[in-house]
């Protein structure tokens, strides 16, 4: 997982980040507001990163830096940690629940600035190799033709 290079933010345009923060503010009955100093630059940086291919750690670095820039008035940590957690969720289904929780918690805490890069790399390097590439959500299982071996998932 740690070595996989892909467009991790491909499904997360900047508008989704805004919607997420707005919803979290709404849930708290707090007024949604942005930080005029950093909002535009973080938005541009994020949007530029959406189609770009990068490693998971590079992507998490970007998310952490965006969180540190505090583009929103409230819920910066919850917004960016939720995105990071969702990014890795599909990849953790092949892990034991406790191990998946370790990766999830570490990723969230890394983005929130409570865990260092060293700890993140240690956890990902230790548990990452056990993660298997998730099957696309729309793939329907079809019976294999007689005499043909069915693939047992990517390794």
């Amino acid at each position: 997982m740690i070595d996989i290079s892909k467009a991790w933010l491909g499904a997360v345009p900047w508008e989704s980040v805004l919607t997420l923060n707005q919803t979290l503010c709404q849930a708290q009955k707090a007024e949604y507001a942005t930080n005029a100093k950093t909002f535009a630059s973080v938005g541009t940086r994020w949007q530029n990163a959406v189609p770009r291919t990068s490693s998971l750690v590079e992507t998490l670095d970007l998310i952490r830096e965006c969180r540190e820039a505090l583009p929103f008035a409230l819920n910066n940590g919850n917004t960016f940690a939720a995105i990071a957690k969702t990014l890795v969720d599909d990849w953790l289904k092949s892990l034991a629940p406790i191990e998946a929780q370790i990766v999830r918690t570490t990723v969230c805490h890394y983005v929130a600035g409570q865990v260092g890069r060293k700890e993140l790399l240690q956890v990902l390097q230790h548990l990452g190799p056990a993660c298997k590439q998730p099957a696309p959500a729309t793939v329907k299982s079809t019976p294999a033709p007689v005499g043909q071996v069915q693939a047992q998932g990517a390794v």
């Binding site: 491909g10 919850n78 940690a81 957690k85 370790i102 969230c108 805490h109 409570q114 865990v115």
Partner: protein
């Protein structure tokens, strides 16, 4: 699955995750703006203990 469906699916999951983070410990969870450092240390200690357990289990033939 189209690009837009991917975005909706991701946003739905992220919203659930964000709301859960928000609810956890009355906003004292990972995502909050002012989480105490000690919580991060406690999580690291739990992770370390879990990894040690994992390694011990691996060594047993």
């Amino acid at each position: 699955m189209t690009h837009s469906e991917d975005q909706h699916r991701f946003l739905r999951s992220a919203l659930k995750a964000g709301l859960r983070l928000q609810q956890r410990a009355g906003n004292g969870g990972a995502g909050s703006e002012s989480s105490p450092r000690s919580e991060g240390v406690a999580v690291l200690q739990r992770i370390k203990a879990s990894l040690q357990k994992h390694n011990r289990r691996r060594q047993i033939p």
